[in-house]
Symmetry: C2
Subunit: 303 residues, 2 copies
């Protein structure tokens, strides 16, 4: 295992053409010092999410390889999909996993941003922890107007790119690059078919409307199961841990006489977020990695 | 990482002489295909527990190396300690961890048992899942009478050893060897100083008095903290998982108006037992290993 590990989760504006998706995955797989862990494509969104991890140098090379493969294949002028987008490669987040700090990932995002502009002439916006202005922390604010609107938006000095001239790439648009915490997609199912309850709970628990700071939440009806779902993104599990979110949902649900049927983690979750769950419910002062047989053995085999 | 992994946790009747303990640890560390993970010595018990893991062949070689190092150094005729014992190397449990079944460990225990007798002339009793008679499943039943009593006990045909002549080794006694599940030492603290409550809860939850099958439990007073403790060995976490034990303790404690202050895992716990905790409290239908970032990456790096 590498000493330093960064996760990178670029979102690309192509979720239908399998040949293109395969070509991008193949380009990533040719990069040494990274491993491609997951590819999720959504045809309705017309968007694919590539998850890979590797050394800082490997991850940097992989982003370049992804751009080199995506630009000749994706033309945003012809792109239609439900998900908002502003770039062929729409957003490139870097997540510190092991042996690297958030600050290291901010520096990495700047180096990558500069590289993208210099090599591909795609203007770059630094977002999340890498943002150079508060209004650029939120990806949705940057992306507002989308590809089509950016030809005007980029001329506004307030929206001058962090790297590059204020000129939208004709087919690849612009891109957001930044460092952020691991994002956990977490859903909780409730034993009611009244979607208003899910929406009310989502409103109660999400940061934007007064709830937990690092929770984004929406309420949905899940017709085929006769249930509703509180669907969440947890944007900083270290500060807003899964068990606290779930217990708050339980309390809110109790107000309406409903209860939690099950929960689900969509995609990948870091081990540290599961360790928090164990600590919380078992009331362990601390779960040390060396208490876990497999981790102790792994350490012993390394040393 | 090895394809097949067995854990082995021999208990040795020496917990005071550091030179001897170091010599035994050094003997284990010289064996290839195993890693020594932990050594815990208790001077009051005058007993040390060595935890190591490795391939079946490695573990077999390590047990032989441990006997070779222990026999010239430990003389049970001079051994005193609080913990009952019948052998210089008192008990040798094998635990299936990865790529091996319980049956594989039973076979391994028989091979090791035969080797111990042939090479060291120490009579061997197969216990736990390796037991050849129901009354030998329980280690305490075999050990009853201890080293001093075994010179008579071994002559009883009901207590003929599984390997070897019915003749106690003059300084090393006899040994129990067997395959068992991972044993988790788990304690729960309650906010009362009334030890009768801890004892009553221990009685309610342990298998021997009508509680959960794979729980052994005792109640203790923890004077320095002004609390009591339910102290447990969980002998099969797959069938009696930690969260079910903890929730039963919570319910029993509520009868007395007391509650859980914290819990603790002593020594090593397998990842699978913690995954059960996550599944139980998050109400996840199943926590798949490939959902966890670090495990997915580890798999990707292997493949």
């Amino acid at each position: 295992m590498w000493e330093k590990i960064v996760e990178c989760v670029p979102n690309v504006s192509e979720g239908r053409n399998q040949e293109t998706i395969r070509a991008l995955a193949a380009a990533l797989e040719r990069v040494s010092e990274i491993k491609l862990l997951d590819v999720e494509s959504d045809p309705d969104h017309n968007r694919s999410v590539f998850t890979f991890a590797g050394t800082p140098e490997g991850v940097k090379a992989a982003v370049m390889a992804l751009f080199a493969a995506a630009l000749p294949r994706i033309d945003l002028r012809k792109h239609r999909g439900e998900h908002p987008r502003m770039g062929a490669v729409d957003v490139v987040p870097f997540v510190p996993v092991r042996g690297v700090t958030m600050e290291d990932c901010v520096i990495l995002s700047r180096e990558v941003g500069q590289g993208i502009w210099e090599r591909f002439q795609v203007p770059v916006y630094l977002y999340a922890n890498s943002a150079t202005r508060p209004e650029r922390e939120d990806l949705a604010a940057i992306r507002k107007g989308e590809f089509e609107g950016f030809f005007e938006k980029i001329k506004d000095p307030a929206w001058a790119p962090d790297f590059g001239e204020p000129e939208v790439h004709p087919t690849a648009g612009v891109v957001a690059v930044g460092a952020r915490e691991f994002l956990i997609a977490y859903n909780v199912y409730l034993n009611t078919d009244d979607v208003r309850i899910a929406k009310a709970i989502a409103r109660a628990i999400r940061g934007s409307s007064g709830g937990l700071r690092y929770v984004k939440a929406l309420g949905f009806e899940i017709k085929e199961r006769g249930l509703v779902q509180v669907s969440m993104n947890l944007t900083n599990y270290k500060k807003t841990p899964i068990p606290r979110v779930l217990e708050l949902i339980r309390r809110e649900a109790a107000r309406y006489g409903v209860s939690v049927v099950e929960s689900e983690i969509v995609g990948l979750v870091p081990q540290g977020a599961l360790d928090q769950v164990v600590e919380y419910y078992l009331q362990l002062p601390r779960l040390e990695p060396q208490m876990v047989f497999e981790r102790r053995l792994e350490e012993a085999l390394k040393g």
